[in-house]
């Protein structure tokens, strides 16, 4: 059992997504610390991938910038080791199956465990393919996070029953990115999940402003925000920490008022 539940202990969780190495790891370190100081409960650290098929243009851009800056899986492992000296909240990696597979699944997951990564999100690894990764994740106490989508329907029970850590509820069809409106009946999906498991559910995809975060957090256990934060980092580059910290503070305040 990983540390992830801690993130949901003090009310609704706010979960920022940050691509490691965008534009460089020094900035990522400052941004992560600013997010933690302003109330982030869990952080998704993106390991960039050359061809992120589940991402919209904003996060694609972060992946390209990070890889162009020379970041690698090994550099990110060292970065997390360093981060763990003072950052105590749960941390999960978000990347693509090939980044883990190509590194060597056992070598990758055991390193995650050693450096203090609590879970891993692989958006191109559906329920049907998880058996290849799950036993290794179990062995090293790294939660393999399950995703549930608006199209999951009758698959929800099956996925929820075996889910670990928290469930990532995908709010909308399509790829990551800011949306003006989320039309999926999140409440109905959460209810179906609740019938099958009591692990926390956090909603992501398309959330950018405090109103949306508040609404999604009210229906679930937390809100995940990626593209909106990446946009702030893109705009402010090396000086992004302060602006991200301020944004996280506002979002956290909004969901705490639920």
């Amino acid at each position: 059992m990983s540390n992830i539940r801690e993130a949901f202990k003090n009310g609704k969780a706010f979960i920022p997504f940050i691509t490691c190495g965008d534009p460089d790891l020094e900035t990522t370190g400052k941004v992560v610390r600013a997010a933690v100081q302003n109330g982030a409960d869990l952080i998704e650290l993106g390991i960039p991938f050359s061809d992120p098929t589940a991402e919209g243009p904003v996060i694609q851009g972060a992946n390209i910038r990070a890889l162009a800056g020379g970041v690698t899986t090994n550099k990110i492992f060292d970065f997390v080791r360093e981060l763990r000296r003072d950052i105590k909240i749960p941390l999960v990696f978000m990347t693509y199956a090939n980044v883990v597979f190509s590194y060597g699944m056992e070598k990758f997951i055991s390193t995650c465990s050693e450096i203090g990564i609590d879970g891993i999100i692989l958006p191109d690894l559906p329920f049907e393919e998880k058996d290849e990764f799950q036993p290794i994740c179990d062995k090293y106490d790294v939660d393999l996070i399950s995703l549930i989508a608006p199209t999951s329907e009758h698959r929800i029970a099956m996925i929820a029953k075996e889910a670990k850590g928290f469930i990532y509820v995908v709010s909308s069809l399509g790829v990551t990115g800011v949306r003006s409106e989320i039309t999926t009946d999140i409440g109905a999906i959460i209810n179906l999940i609740r019938e099958n498991t009591d692990i926390p559910c956090a909603v992501g995809f398309g959330i950018s402003n405090p109103q949306q975060a508040q609404k999604m957090a009210a229906l679930s256990d937390g809100a995940i925000v990626g593209s909106a934060i990446i946009k702030i980092i893109e705009k402010n580059a090396e000086n992004a920490a302060e602006a991200v910290g301020k944004y996280v503070g506002e979002m956290k305040a909004a969901i705490m008022s639920v």
């Binding site: 991938f49 090939n98 190509s102």
Partner: protein, 396 residues
């Protein structure tokens, strides 16, 4: 060849976002039903024969044979199909399937433009909306095909992400599919992607080897000694190999695009230079760096310019049933010109990779040996690019 979960040995599988899983399962169920449905098959054969012009000829290339001075060479003329390539076989099958499933919109990726043109054609024929994703780089290399697709009523979206070539067009089509599933079928163009696509596309392309086998038995009374086809994702090769897989005496040879050579970074020879990975929904061989980042591949051929290969090819390689050989840009361009001059047949630059390999092995084989080269497409689309390769400044 595939088991229940769409595995070919360790390869294949369904590595896709949860959002697409129900769509993929729905597709698999529909395909499993219709592939055995007499009405579906009657309609498909009707389209193959009356619309696409099948069966395609198995032509004895006498002059080519004599010029090379070795094995007897036949050409399986997929270039004579409607729209000018083998791509129409798969597209007619998938479009008909999509129509039966109640879909009204087809999306597709395209590299050279052949699959995009075929998809736009089927969409026009079957009254479906069509959107084709094409790498911006390829829209420039194949401007005429962009115009063809638009003429046929399709919308062509230039893809600017990544390397702006075929792999990025696939990624973008996948992204589009996750955002619009209800009315849309993703008409994948090769034996790749998540299960059931590698199986569906192979089955629709298997018409090539079904015909080749019957035609060869009729003409020669025996099976050929070797089948040679080019491999990008690998659909024409898989279709050309399929009905010969159990005939162990028939060598199956896939020709990969080596670009400027497999010892350079400017190559797309996946089996020869890649290693096992997970990308675009499948486990297979991919060109990638030590951390699993997909490599920016290169070939003169926009249709072979892909960093992966279909999972069944990866499996045929693993078990040693098929061989995968690299062919460089230079060799392919020479073969393009050579076939044009010896037989009066201008092959697609993709197919020219297969011709190039035949030019290497045929002279060393006895005269009583038989080779079949699949000419997967015609080369009209490539003339301007080859002229430029030779330093002649022609633009379409």
């Amino acid at each position: 060849m595939s088991n229940k979960n769409g595995r070919f040995g360790i390869h294949g599988g369904q590595y896709i976002p949860e959002t697409l899983m129900n769509a993929i399962i729905e597709l698999e169920n529909a395909y499993n039903f219709y592939k055995n449905d007499p009405e579906f098959n009657r309609e498909l054969i009707g389209l193959f024969n009356e619309y696409a012009g099948r069966p395609s000829r198995l032509y004895y290339a006498e002059k080519l044979t004599k010029t090379l001075g070795g094995a007897k060479i036949y050409l399986k003329r997929e270039d004579l199909n409607h729209t000018g390539s083998h791509k129409i076989n798969n597209v007619l099958g998938q479009a008909l399937l999509a129509k039966k499933m109640g879909k009204t919109r087809l999306i597709a990726e395209t590299g050279a433009g052949q699959h995009g043109v075929a998809t736009a054609t089927a969409a026009a024929l079957m009254n479906m909306e069509c959107v084709v994703f094409m790498g911006e780089e390829d829209t420039k290399r194949q401007a005429l095909n962009v115009y063809r697709m638009e003429l046929l009523g399709a919308k062509v979206i230039p893809v600017t992400s990544g390397t702006a070539t075929l792999k990025d067009a696939v990624s973008e089509a996948m992204r589009e599919w996750t955002s619009r599933i209800e009315d849309t079928h993703y008409c994948l163009g090769s034996v790749m992607g998540p299960h059931p696509f590698p199986t569906i596309v192979r089955d629709f392309q298997a018409v090539i080897s079904r015909e080749t086998k019957a035609q060869m038995l009729e003409k020669e009374g025996r099976l050929p000694d070797a089948i040679i086809a080019c491999v990008g994702g690998g659909s024409n090769a898989m279709g050309s190999f399929y009905h010969f897989i159990d005939d162990n005496e028939v060598r199956l040879i896939g020709c990969e695009a080596a670009g400027r050579g497999i010892d350079t970074f400017e190559t797309a020879a996946t089996v020869n230079t890649g290693r096992v990975g997970i990308f675009h929904g499948m486990k297979s061989y991919f060109c990638q760096d030590e951390f699993g980042q997909i490599a920016p591949v290169y070939s003169i051929s926009a249709g072979l310019d892909y960093p992966g290969v279909g999972p069944e090819h990866a499996y045929l390689h693993d078990i040693g049933r098929a061989e995968y050989v690299p062919v460089t840009d230079d060799e392919a361009v020479n073969a393009f010109e050579f076939l044009s001059r010896t037989e009066g047949i201008i092959p697609a630059i993709e197919s020219a990779h297969a011709v190039a390999h035949a030019m290497k092995i045929a002279p060393k084989m006895d005269k009583d040996k038989i080779i079949v080269i699949t000419v997967s497409g015609r080369g009209d689309k490539d003339c301007a690019a080859i002229a430029r390769y030779r330093g002649v400044d022609i633009y379409e």
